[in-house]
């Protein structure tokens, strides 16, 4: 149970927040798209966690809430900015 929960949390913290934002770049490698999403998610989660820690407001639910908002904020931006994949654009 704890293992499953850990994997879900890893996905939510280290994949989801960056995923929508990286769609603004046309990746020709799926693995690099995922790696960039992981890196950006780690960066966002780090900055959110730090901000809350310095403000004395850190708690797991607070971090989850802010990360959820960051992810939601990316949806309209990435919908406007998403480009067709480079492979699909090649005739």
């Amino acid at each position: 149970m704890i293992l499953a929960r850990t994997f879900v949390v890893l996905g939510l913290v280290l994949l989801v927040p960056g995923w929508a934002w990286v769609r603004m770049v046309r990746f020709d490698s799926k693995s690099f798209e995922i790696a960039t999403a992981v890196a950006l998610s780690a960066a966002i989660s780090t900055l959110v966690s730090l901000g809350l820690l310095y403000a004395g407001l850190w708690s797991p639910p607070a971090v989850a809430l802010v990360l959820g908002l960051v992810t939601l904020a990316s949806v309209p931006v990435s919908r406007r900015a998403t480009l067709p994949s480079r492979k699909a654009s090649v005739p």
């Binding site: 603004m24 960066a43 989660s45 780090t46 820690l53 310095y54």
Partner: protein
């Protein structure tokens, strides 16, 4: 055209497809089989006979055969000239599992004393919910620990340490995608690209991929460089919006990196600057943005740590002699076997750099490609910046490694891969494997701990009141995983070093533990501390044992705990004071500094 005439052109492609299909199937099946062979044999390693040559001499033949088969299979796949991504990934995944996962499955508790401290810092943040920047340097670059605290708390883990054991494997797997993009963008032929990635993993012996800020920071660094060479390079097919997005993502990654690690942001700045200098980046302002971010963080957010240390830190700038002494000469000490390990490391480093130099000449002459040599050279000015506790050369090696490995691949694979050259390449790989195993795991005797050590330390910490003092002979023990900032942790070798003494002295112990109320001070000696002092030559052989026997005879100390791995003493009544009435300082340790 007759049916006869059609047959050869019909049959030959079919045969080729079948042969390709077989090669590709073997390219996945062989790594899977190798992983199985490794898992079936690795547990036969007997760590009880480990000496100062570390783990490599103890590895069973099955593990070595698994690595040999994997390298041979990789050479065969390189010869086909069209290695599919899935085949390359399967080989690299198996290599990472074997090279980086072996100690994880063999050792009872996570290796490296720093792993315990890092988990302890994340635990401290998760327990308190705030950052006290006065504790130590880690709390001035707390990005990684904040992230770990968040993940472990959200996942409901008992302790952040539960995320630590497999760190070397998952970090190295994370490095793969950006490494591949860098290789595909800068290295000419597909098989040389895969060899570049392969050589990175064979050359990454320096143990900076454990549960540590620098491991995460290196991942961010590689993604930034990959974005730069793929999306910001002149001549690549990218739209202005894509380039803007690549810059924004790079800046976001750098923002996290400056909060996470002291050194990696400087390497990222150097790499971004190098790409601009050789005209391989259209983001001319990116190095300036990176520099501003580093300066802003250091000057604003690390002030409590830097105050009082700034002269000491700046004193090393430009002093290459001091840096070389701390990075090379001071490491050439310790037992004879350890000296052999140090020489193998120097040979590995020098060998890879010599190959890289050869490859650099080739890529500049043949392909007019300055980006790879520039990226490989970019971290070297850091050597003149700071000795970094004698580790700067290692860090420079690491930051240059992705590009040095690519240049070495160019040197090893200049063109067609015939039978003779394949055998030579396989031999070079096996030499590197040997060098890797001895270099990376040569210190394993001091990097590994027992469950008994961890349990004994936990018991001592649990029975120590807030603000108590724990003294160890050397820093090599699995402590501070819990109660990181609740007590004072003093290392006698540092006290002696500051006071200029060549041997551990009971008088210096007294100066730390005397006058504390009962239960507030403990002195502990562990198997791993003794191994550390012997292997690295901190003190002459038997120095800790002599101090221990002095303490056993002394009326000033009482034996508090004795197990197979740990001996602990507490001050006798003659040394202790009455409990203080100051509730904020029950152990009367205000003013005592950790050492």
């Amino acid at each position: 055209m007759s049916a006869e005439a059609l047959r050869p052109s019909f049959v030959l492609p079919a045969v080729r497809v079948t042969a390709d299909g077989f090669a590709h199937a073997a390219g996945v099946v062989v790594p899977a089989g190798v992983a199985l062979l490794w898992s079936a044999t690795v547990l036969g390693t007997d760590l009880s006979h480990m000496g100062d040559l570390g783990l490599a001499p103890l590895l069973p033949a099955g593990v070595l055969a698994a690595i040999g088969i994997l390298c041979a299979s990789f050479c065969v796949q390189l010869r086909t000239g069209r290695m599919r991504t899935v085949v390359g990934v399967a080989h690299v995944a198996a290599l990472v599992l074997i090279l980086y996962g072996t100690p994880i499955v063999l050792e009872a508790v996570p290796r490296l004393n720093v792993t315990w401290r890092h988990a302890g810092i994340a635990d401290q943040l998760a327990r308190t919910g705030h950052i006290d920047r006065t504790i130590d340097a880690y709390f001035n670059w707390p990005g990684f620990f904040a992230l770990v605290a968040t993940i472990s708390s959200l996942a409901g883990l008992d302790h952040p340490m539960q995320l630590a054991p497999w760190a070397s494997v998952y970090f190295n797997l994370l490095y793969l995608a950006p490494l591949l993009v860098i290789a595909r963008s800068l290295v000419p032929a597909p098989r040389t690209q895969w060899l570049a990635v392969w050589l990175f993993y064979l050359g990454n012996w320096i143990n900076q991929d454990y549960f540590a800020p620098q491991a995460e920071a290196l991942f961010l660094f590689l993604v930034i460089v990959a974005l730069g060479v793929r999306y910001l390079s002149p001549g690549t097919e990218t739209s202005p919006r894509e380039r803007a997005a690549a810059v924004l993502i790079s800046v976001a990654l750098m923002a996290a990196m400056v909060t996470t690690h002291q050194l990696t942001p400087l390497a990222a700045f150097a790499a971004a600057g190098a790409l601009v200098l050789v005209n391989r980046s259209r983001a001319l302002g990116l190095p300036v943005i990176f520099a501003v971010m580093v300066v802003a963080w250091v000057s604003v957010m690390t002030e409590p740590f830097l105050a009082g240390r700034i002269h000491e830190l700046l004193a090393g700038i430009g002093d290459v002699g001091r840096s070389a002494n701390a990075n090379v000469a001071e490491r050439l000490q310790g037992s004879d076997e350890h000296l052999l390990i140090v020489r193998i490391r120097l040979l590995m480093t020098g060998g890879l750099w010599a190959l890289a130099l050869f490859g650099a000449v080739r890529v500049v002459r043949t392909h007019r490609n300055l980006a790879l040599p520039a990226l490989a050279a970019a971290p070297f000015p850091l050597l003149a910046f700071q000795p970094y506790g004698g580790e700067m050369l290692l860090r420079v090696y690491l930051f240059a490694l992705p590009f040095a490995a690519a240049l070495a691949a160019v040197a090893l694979l200049p063109g067609r891969l015939g039978r003779v050259r394949s055998v030579a390449l396989f031999t070079a790989m096996m030499l590197m494997v040997g060098g890797f195993l001895f270099s990376r795991y040569g210190n394993e005797r001091i990097n590994t701990f027992t469950e008994g050590e961890v349990r004994a330390i936990d018991r001592l910490v649990d029975r120590t009141p807030q603000g108590g003092v724990l003294v160890a002979a050397t820093a090599n023990l699995p402590w501070r995983g819990t109660a990181y900032a609740d007590h004072h942790y003093v290392v006698l070798s540092r006290v002696e070093s500051v006071r200029g003494h060549a041997l551990p002295r009971i008088e210096d112990l007294l100066s730390v533990v005397e006058g504390r109320p009962p239960g507030c001070a403990h002195v502990l000696f562990t198997t791993s501390q003794r191994a550390y002092a012997e292997l690295l030559g901190v003190w002459p052989a038997g120095a800790i044992e002599r101090l221990e026997s002095q303490m056993r005879r002394s009326p000033l100390f009482e034996l508090e705990m004795e197990t197979r791995d740990v001996v602990a003493f507490k001050p006798s009544r003659r040394l202790t004071d009455e409990p203080t009435t100051d509730r904020s300082d029950p152990c009367n340790t205000r003013g005592l500094e950790d050492a």
